[in-house]
């Protein structure tokens, strides 16, 4: 917008400039220049020479960071689009796969990011008021929270790697979903029933002569008719029925690995943003320690905080979309 266009310099315009604009009073900005040499900002070390005033410099930077945030929103939108379409087409895959995610860890990470967002916003206030040591403290807490987030993410990722929960052809889960703790807790009857079904299927495989397909719902000699509570979670997760990889038996849903593509790409891209944020905050911590920020010059802190809030914002959506599927 207009704020970015630099003012024509050279014309004398010191005092009259603000006539008729009572909402804006920064006489001190123009004290050092305006008449004659507009390029030398005298004793204003943080005012770049192509800006006329601190206000203009700040507004230009703010517009810049907002434009950057827009590109970030649209950048992530591609992944959210892939997620939306795949979930709409194959809801059973998401029901199946979410049992493998640790909701507690996701919730902890959400809280950690929210706290770091508070300290980032607080840091902006400290910079505006020129509170150097508080500013540094808040930046340190922000960095600490970001590192905590990455450590928790590391444990989650290594757990997934260990369990073979990887995208694409590397997807070889070592555990069946009904053996997973969160599934057992939520649907104890269904887990037990699934175990029996799987054992029976294995036995059938051993002696192919008695090749009777295990179709749930149909009467079988060894099984009583399953109740709704036993059956429904299995059907919903695509373990049995036409969506299963083995339509006659019990297995996982077809193309379940695509969920983990979504999961790793979305959380991975988000994690890269967190890492970049840590780098930016460390840089700003060094600058803050030199006492570079104050009431007239706190832009970098404000811009970094805006970026940080956007990273938080994306996680606010990722958390329910990946961890809290019902």
């Amino acid at each position: 917008m207009s704020e970015t266009t630099s003012e024509p310099v050279g014309e004398p315009k010191g005092g009259q400039k603000h006539d008729g604009h009572p909402g804006h009073d920064h006489p001190e900005e123009h004290a050092g220049h305006g008449h004659g040499d507009a390029h030398a900002h005298g004793n204003s070390p943080h005012l770049a020479h192509h800006f006329d005033s601190y206000q203009q410099q700040f507004d230009a930077g703010k517009l810049g960071i907002w434009l950057f945030l827009l590109t970030e929103v649209l950048f992530f939108a591609g992944l959210f689009c892939a997620y939306t379409i795949y979930r709409a087409m194959h809801p059973e895959v998401f029901v199946y796969a979410h049992y493998f995610l640790n909701t507690t860890m996701g919730a902890i990470n959400t809280c950690v990011l929210l706290i770091s967002s508070l300290t980032a916003a607080w840091a902006v206030r400290n910079a505006q008021l020129g509170q150097k040591s508080l500013l540094m403290l808040n930046i340190v807490i922000t960095i600490a929270c970001a590192c905590t987030f990455m450590v928790v993410k590391y444990f989650e990722y290594s757990h997934k790697f260990h369990d073979g929960l990887l995208p694409g052809p590397r997807f070889h889960p070592t555990e069946q979903v009904w053996e997973v703790e969160s599934f057992k807790l939520k649907h104890p009857e269904a887990a037990e029933y699934a175990e029996r079904l799987a054992k029976a299927a294995e036995e059938k495989k051993k002696k192919p002569a008695a090749a009777v397909a295990i179709v749930p719902g149909t009467e079988q000699p060894t099984f009583e008719k399953p109740t709704e509570e036993q059956l429904e979670p299995l059907v919903k997760a695509g373990l049995i029925g036409p969506l299963s990889e083995e339509p006659g038996g019990i297995s996982r849903p077809k193309d379940a690995h695509v969920f983990f593509s979504c999961y790793f790409f979305m959380t991975g891209l988000h994690g890269i943003h967190v890492l970049a944020g840590i780098g930016v905050w460390i840089w700003l911590l060094v600058r803050a320690s030199k006492g570079q920020f104050g009431p007239k010059y706190f832009g970098p802190i404000d811009y970094a905080a805006l970026y940080w809030h956007l990273v938080d914002l994306i996680w606010i959506y990722l958390f329910p979309l990946l961890y809290l599927i019902h």
């Binding site: 009259q16 434009l67 929103v73 379409i85 709409a88 959400t110 929210l114 919903k236 019902h326």
Partner: protein
């Protein structure tokens, strides 16, 4: 607005020029400067400040967040996180749970954008920028979603040829 201004300026100039001939060159200079100023990019910015003036003018370059508000917003965000986790234990139908989760996430996002990101006190232009991005995200997602089953027959056909 610029035209209006220069018009009145010209009128006053014409009036003042009659009795005082000596003042004319000064008035003229003032006029051209004022004209240049009216086209000046800062005009829009000043208008923006004036509308939120009482928040901005006594705090320097931008609004400063009070600490109780910051902490209060964090409290609300934490409470909503707890709510969204606990609501998954209740079955509201698969769609119902998703809708509730998204509504809570959107309320949280709104809190972050409004308070932590200062959009409430910021220039309205930044809000428009942000809403434009969201509009395009919504267009992107909804148009892709309406189209999603379009190629399913071909996918099925392909997977049948791939099947052993």
């Amino acid at each position: 607005m610029a035209d209006e201004k220069s018009e009145t300026e010209a009128k006053s100039e014409a009036q003042s020029a009659e009795p005082k001939a000596a003042a004319k060159p000064h008035a003229h200079e003032n006029h051209s400067q004022e004209n240049g100023h009216s086209d000046h990019p800062h005009d829009a910015g000043h208008a923006g400040h004036a509308s939120v003036g009482e928040h901005v003018h006594d705090h320097g370059l931008a609004h400063t967040m009070p600490i109780p508000l910051l902490v209060g917003v964090l409290g609300a965000l934490m409470a909503l996180t707890l709510l969204t986790v606990s609501v998954t234990h209740y079955d509201l139908g698969s769609e119902g749970n998703l809708v509730i989760a998204m509504v809570i996430a959107t309320v949280k996002a709104g809190l972050v954008v409004t308070f932590f990101m200062h959009l409430l006190w910021d220039k309205k232009f930044h809000l428009i920028l942000f809403l434009t991005a969201l509009l395009f995200v919504v267009l992107f997602l909804s148009m892709s979603s309406t189209d999603r089953s379009e190629y399913q027959p071909r996918i099925d056909e392909y997977s049948q040829t791939q099947a052993p």
